[in-house]
Amino acid sequence: MLTYNIFDDVLELRNLVDNFFRDVPSRGASRDYPYIDLYETDAGLQISAILAGVKPEDVSVELVNNSIIIEGEKKSDYAEHPYIRKEREFGRFKKSVKLPYRVDAGNVQASMKDGILTVKLTKSEDAKPKRIEIH
């Protein structure tokens, strides 16, 4: 058995104030579209999106008119039991990302790992600089 010590709580107060400045609230749960990061790699572009708790079969990635559309549903996993804390949110989401240049539509790779979706795109040949011969 543990004994309750009131001084533990007093010392906790200092940690509480320290942690207030240290902690970043978790994001991504309270919006209906996922947060993304866009990277440029040697081959082309890479988009990563935070999709925690979303199954890969519930996500669709589409390339439409030079935009990537990430759409899907985060299905609720609520159990039929009394909840003590309910902070997570569920529902449908949709996000459109405008790409800075044309990409190769036939070479799009999407993978999901640890709740993060990664979409890899390669730069289209049309978008690369072309030297024009002068006759």
């Binding site: 058995m1 543990l2 320290d18 400045f21 240290r22 902690d23 970043v24 609230p25 978790s26 994001r27 991504g28 749960a29 947060y35 993304i36 990061d37 866009l38 990277y39 440029e40 790699t41 040697d42 572009l45 890479q46 935070i50 999709l51 925690a52 708790g53 979303v54 199954k55 890969p56 996993d77 609520y78 159990a79 039991h81 009394p82 909840y83 003590i84 804390r85 309910k86 902070e87 997570r88 800075p100 999901m112 640890d114 709740g115 993060i116």
Partner: protein
């Protein structure tokens, strides 16, 4: 410490507090925490006296060789602690990580589970 230590434009001491769902059943408590980007081997769960601590490390070197053009999020290490009561069996903690969701099952100790008392005829 009100100032954040920055190194290469990255906040070293920033932590993300993962959002959590907690529900109670007759024989256990179940916790679900959202920790996207954490690998199983970088996750640490400790039970110390009446404090349950969950921390997950993010590997930053994965972004090397890439050029960030547009950013809406940044991943930091995760940390959250919960205070648990005496009704938890400290030896039977179960943890699962799937799609960035950590599910913890804390079984209640035998003493607090509902028990049916047999009446013996006198």
């Amino acid at each position: 410490m009100a100032t954040k230590r920055m190194k290469d434009n990255y906040c070293e001491e920033c932590m993300i507090v993962p959002v959590a769902d907690i529900y109670e059943t007759a024989d256990a408590y179940s916790l679900k925490l959202e920790m996207p980007g954490v690998k199983k081997e970088n996750l640490e769960i400790t039970m110390n006296d009446n404090e349950l601590e969950i921390s997950g490390k993010i590997q930053k070197d994965e972004t090397n060789g890439k050029n960030l053009k547009y950013s809406e999020y940044e991943l930091f290490d995760y940390y959250r602690s919960f205070r648990v009561g005496n009704d938890i069996d400290r030896n039977s903690l179960k943890a699962e990580l799937e799609n960035g969701i950590l599910t913890l099952t804390l079984h209640k100790s035998e003493e607090v589970k509902p028990r049916k008392i047999q009446i013996t005829a006198s």
